[in-house]
Symmetry: C2
Subunit: 495 residues, 2 copies
């Protein structure tokens, strides 16, 4: 482990990997393309799961579990879906190994070949909707709202921890409705649920918008997205929600008998966020010292470190530390108990502990030594600011709570400022070309033609991130071909 | 859906499947060997996860996530492990599909063949311990206590919902320790954690014991198990815990520098319970009307059904129903909020609702009609008893809570009685042979020889379930070969 991290200015990509290593979040595994999510990284994922799961269930969606393996033929049932997903996926061809003749190694048993190959799910539309076609008979069975927490796999040659790995964890919501309007409302509900979550919990200010035809989900009628901006000005797609129309319903015969006794295809949606969000979280707030976590997502919101030399001192400072911890744990913040940890390990020095929690991004750090106890005070530090603040013990709990609120607020503010400062209205291709290198979101007019989008992608390595939902119609001309355009799209380089 | 279930007396196996269908817990999927866990079945699994996860974390174990795919060569590193697991597993040989010449179907791209085949994890010892060897350097890194919630796959030709499916969900704990004694204590802690959980939460009275050599986990030094008895007298292994000794440590080079500066192999444990436990739960308590759930595991502990004909009546009875629900929801039982549901659906009749919640095993059902409201009372039903009990509204909350405690208690009592009544001390092979057909646990002397075990398995279709931990040394002779034996083992037919 290196003692200091690569700085963002020196090498942003290496800095990202250094933050992950320093905070002990994840690592590459012995299996190409797959990562190990280490306990601290997994604890962040569990926090995301808990909060999202509550919101999803509050909306009336129920969790269920569908098979990992999908028959190959399922993928081809929805014509455009196969184009988007069939290509890079793990294929199971056999179901048995046997001992090799050397008696030590194992080989694939050629007699155990599957009649039809099975695919490890890259997403579950096909396997779920073939089931939905049995579950849904009449309008009384609608809406059907199902969510699944699962692992999925999309083969990747060039991987990047959290952002791009062959296997990742996610939540995928799948719903079926009687009308197009209900499905559209559900897709928009999911989008705003994700927007609220990233803003209020992850302190990430995102742009909700619609994907262009070429960037939408394979098989969707249209795709909504929330696009976040990282500190280097690059975009990160943080969550998507698809109005699938009747495309999959027709492919998988998901029909219902309506109130008028006529048989109709259902209208569907799907929506998901994944462990990729942890990558976005890291790149949104962290600094050259390591991870910075917003209090609402942090596994530990407050860490208290006792400082002592003698056993006698230890007794006194640990008593003071536990006393603050007990009082803090009794407090409720954002409808959850405050999460406090007292670091009483005796195989680490005070300096090692301080450095460790700094790198792990704990929002509030409290240090208490013998002199502090004598003075009836402690030192309180905000992870997102420099400086140590002496605080009277009597108001330590109150102050710590105040700090949590301030940090949550200030991180969102800084994240939003970064995005707003680096969002530019650009009206010519030359301007786009000259500015793209410095990063940021570029709001440009675009005619809607795929050829223009492709040109920007090839020449400037920037893609359309979304057509922002919050904009007025505005007459303009496409930055590429000068044809008329009614609204702006965001071009940006992206993770 | 059949209107009534097959009775246990008529066909126990069909009854089991009928209960699952009637309670809407799970179904076979389009993929051979894989099941779909439906929302109500998954809600039971989430309840199990929540309670187990809390207990596992309280013990100091941290959750993490490891790769789904394991290199084939990993399986052969621990010699006896491969014997037990290599045979029936899903093998990934390719990582890409491509469009077939017909332009409609997809085929496996022969150019995308993996250099080394990957196996879908049947269990994660190998992939985890190859990682542990990097994580563990010194005694300061021990104990390492990791748990994973994951899907695993063991190919099955003859499947049975929950009890035996190719893919299943589970929790697998994996720990590493500096000494054999610590590992042994950890394996015993896991066993007693499972025993407490099955007894106190699932109301299942199990026998904790040790597996014989032939039945132990492939690669373990020894295996602990809890064995439950189903209503038909057959055994079900409900959870296992393995002391792995240094077997895997040596295979995967998991070493640490001890306090004396000498390098040593760690001592390891692994332990797990799976969705199979839901099958055991179903067969422990359910009756010919359908599922019966102990209150501590039930997704809904109390369901209130309003009865009405007119809109005016509806307003009055629903107000009374919601009033009880609100009061009940404010109560805490077994350290959790009481889970109450008011069934206000207007597309189902009162009779349909009653029957549905009966089949779903909801512990307490409350019915309120206009006459009840007028009389300031309601009807209360226990799922595990016949009869309707008129209860004054003023004491409905208090009575419902009392019912929950009684049901939890009585289900455990009945389950234990079934096990005790059907547990027999048997001292001759002829007696074992004559009684085995009627089901039950048979405590017999056994010399410890694998040949004797094998004879019983082949001739009587019964296996050694465990050597019970709670027994005194007792001189006797093996029921098969008459050689001396010091203690008894349980023989039984099993799921």
């Amino acid at each position: 482990m290196k003692k200091t991290l690569t700085t963002r200015a020196a090498d942003y990509n290496q800095w990202y990997l250094d933050v992950i290593e320093a905070a002990d979040l994840a690592e590459h595994s012995d299996v190409k393309g797959a990562m190990v999510i280490k306990p601290y990284g997994y604890a962040i994922w569990e926090r995301m799961q808990k909060i999202l799961d509550e919101r999803i269930k509050e909306h009336g969606v129920q969790n269920a579990y569908f098979p990992l393996l999908i028959p190959k033929s399922f993928l081809t049932k929805e014509a455009s879906h196969v184009e988007g997903f069939a290509k890079e996926c793990a294929v199971v061809t056999h179901y048995r190994l046997k001992m090799a003749l050397d008696g030590k190694s194992v080989i694939v048993d050629p007699e155990a070949k599957l009649e039809e190959e099975l695919i490890i799910r890259p997403t579950s539309e096909t396997v779920m909707y073939s089931t939905f076609s049995r579950w849904i008979k009449s309008w009384r069975d609608l809406p059907l709202q199902i969510n699944q927490w699962a692992n999925v796999m999309r083969w990747e040659m060039r991987t990047r921890l959290f952002l791009r790995t062959s296997e990742f964890l996610w939540q995928e919501g799948h719903t079926a409705h009687a009308t197009y309007d209900e499905a559209e409302a559900e897709a928009r509900w999911a989008l705003s649920m994700y927007e609220d979550f990233t803003r209020d919990v992850l302190a990430m200010s995102v742009v909700p918008g619609m994907k262009t035809e070429s960037e939408k989900f394979a098989g969707a009628d249209h795709t909504f997205t929330i696009e976040a901006m990282m500190q280097d000005g690059k975009a990160l797609q943080a969550g998507t929600s698809h109005n699938l129309g009747q495309n999959f319903a027709k492919a998988f015969e998901v029909k219902f008998l309506g109130k008028e006794n006529t048989e109709e295809y259902v209208y569907q949606t799907s929506w998901g966020v994944s462990t990729r969000m942890i990558g976005g979280l890291i790149m949104s707030h962290s600094d050259d010292d390591g991870l910075v976590l917003p209090p609402r997502i942090a596994p530990h919101q407050v860490v208290i470190i006792p400082i002592y030399k003698t056993d006698e001192e230890r007794v006194a400072v640990e008593a003071a530390a536990h006393s603050i911890a007990q009082s803090l744990k009794a407090e409720t913040m954002w409808e959850e108990k405050v999460r406090v940890h007292v670091d009483t390990r005796d195989n680490k020095s005070f300096g090692e502990k301080t450095y460790e929690w700094l790198k792990k991004g704990v929002p509030v750090r409290i240090e208490i030594g013998p002199r502090d106890v004598a003075n009836n005070s402690c030192m309180m530090m905000r992870r997102d600011r420099f400086g140590k603040n002496p605080i009277e013990l009597g108001v330590a709990v109150e102050e710590a709570l105040k700090y949590l609120i301030l940090i949550q607020h200030d991180l969102l503010e800084a994240n939003m400022q970064n995005r707003l400062t680096r969002t530019h209205h650009v009206d010519s291709y030359d301007e786009l070309k000259s500015k793209i290198e410095e990063g940021g979101f570029f709001l440009t007019h675009w005619c809607g033609d795929n050829a223009c989008e492709k040109k920007v992608k090839e020449e400037l390595k920037a893609t359309t991130r979304c057509i922002p939902l919050a904009q007025e119609n505005e007459e303009g001309t496409c930055v590429v071909c000068s044809k008329p355009s009614q609204r702006r799209v965001i071009f940006a380089r992206a993770y």
